[in-house]
Symmetry: C2
DNA sequence: TACTGTCCTGTTGTATACAATCCACGAGCG
DNA sequence: CGCTCGTGGATTGTATACAACAGGACAGTA
């Protein structure tokens, strides 16, 4: 089979290999999301690159990707820090989330995915399931996963990509709270409402539910919360560390 | 005046200096937007870094920022290329724009900026003014500037930042058209309608006008256009080159 | 003639070396 | 005693050197 010039009509795609920079960027995002790299902490390049088993060059290149996302903050001469999202910046974060997730809802409605959004139902079931327990991290993960699934249903690469960053930023905002990371103990009824309206084709209702949910979250994250019952993480649940990049072979 | 430890209550902000990577990234975006770096063209790192008067390291770091934005595409072993947005990917671009600009409209309505959006009126005036002429580039710039201004009125850092990328992507989509870059000759009536509805507080009307405008643009950029009169760029208007970074002194 | 394998050249990817910058500490001085 | 100002150490920012890879040309073979 000739690989010099593909015959017309025969289209084959280049298998997208992941570059080292890709892998490092993924690792860094994961580290921020999991709390392995605490909010506000400066990251020494030699230390991190050493832990990852790579040189400073690819690390710095990967870091610039996160800088573009807003997950890292670069100060000339002082290097990189994990970005913090103080209470006064939380509303803008949720403005962006409303833009993305709201648009997702409209698309889902427009395209009328008739398979009743089984993935979303599963995500909600999972969220309600873990909410019975006391593992704050699992609850938070399930929450964000629900929203990721919601956006995924819109089948929009750009929205999904943006959502990926927004999810991490939401976690950062939680970490940035003065009173520490905590999640709602009970699943907000807005989740079920959102899903019901989505199933019944009531876009306005779904959007309203989403907005209510966000207002609630903003209130909680800005300290204006009407003391909802929360569950804190089981004191320092295994602080995950930075694993070495498996740079293929 | 002691600069060792700032007294409580006296908060002073660090003046945000622009790093070299920042400057290079800006230069690259400008080069893509202006067409100095044509869509699909591979960019030799030694050549570009030479023109910019910097080394490959900061150039590569800056490039990763654009990769994250989607403006550059990196293929392992083959380097970087200016991303292309073929017709089939145009709808998703406008999905994202609808998310951002639609949300901006809702925020503007909610906050009820009462100064009647003079900046937007100016932007529209400017667009209509240059549309009298034959300079396709000026028309395209004025068009995008209108939308940038629209989003700016929402005062959301995240939306504005996202819009900045979307503007360049829109330009890339224009460049990616099989029949070449061209713009509408006459200003779509949806612009005036959008502005009117915004002034009168009719959010739904404004959103509708925006959506109509986008559907129109998507049709044009995907070739499904109902032959609207367009104006092409005055054959190769001064191909701007990459200037050296003024790396301070 | 078409395909396959090998060499060759240029470019990218990574590591390292060097320079510039910033922060902390401590001595000196008002 | 408190502020200012050098100096040292460490870290970042930049440049360069080297290794690895991809693509093209050419010759060999069926």
């Amino acid at each position: 089979m000739p690989h010099s010039s593909p015959r017309p009509g025969v289209s084959v795609f280049r298998v997208p290999r992941a570059s080292t920079v890709d892998l490092i960027a993924i690792e860094l995002r994961q580290a921020i999301f999991s709390g392995a790299l605490p909010v506000g902490s400066p990251l020494g390049e030699v230390e991190i690159s050493g832990q990852l088993g790579v040189s400073r060059s690819p690390l710095r290149e990967a870091a610039q990707r996160l800088v573009q996302e807003g997950l890292l903050t670069a100060t000339p001469g002082r290097g990189l820090r994990v970005s913090s999202i103080p209470p006064e910046l939380v509303p803008d974060l949720y403005t962006a989330r409303l833009a993305v997730e709201g648009q997702a809802i409209r698309i889902i409605h427009r395209d009328g995915d008739t398979q009743k959004h089984s993935e979303l139902h599963e995500a909600l079931d999972h969220l309600q399931s873990v909410s019975q327990g006391e593992d704050a991290r699992k609850i938070g993960d399930a929450d964000l996963d629900f929203h990721r699934t919601l956006v995924a249903l819109a089948h929009s690469p750009r929205l999904s990509r943006a959502m990926e960053t927004l999810i991490i930023e939401t976690r950062i905002a939680s970490y940035s709270m003065p009173q520490g990371y905590a999640v709602r103990r009970s699943v907000s009824p807005t989740y079920a409402a959102l899903l019901e309206h989505l199933d019944s084709g009531n876009t306005q209702g779904a959007l309203k539910a989403l907005e209510d949910q966000f207002n609630d979250a903003v209130d909680r994250l800005t300290g204006r919360a009407t003391h909802v019952d929360t569950v804190e993480p089981s004191l320092q649940a295994d602080q995950p560390t930075l694993g070495p990049i498996e740079v293929l072979e």
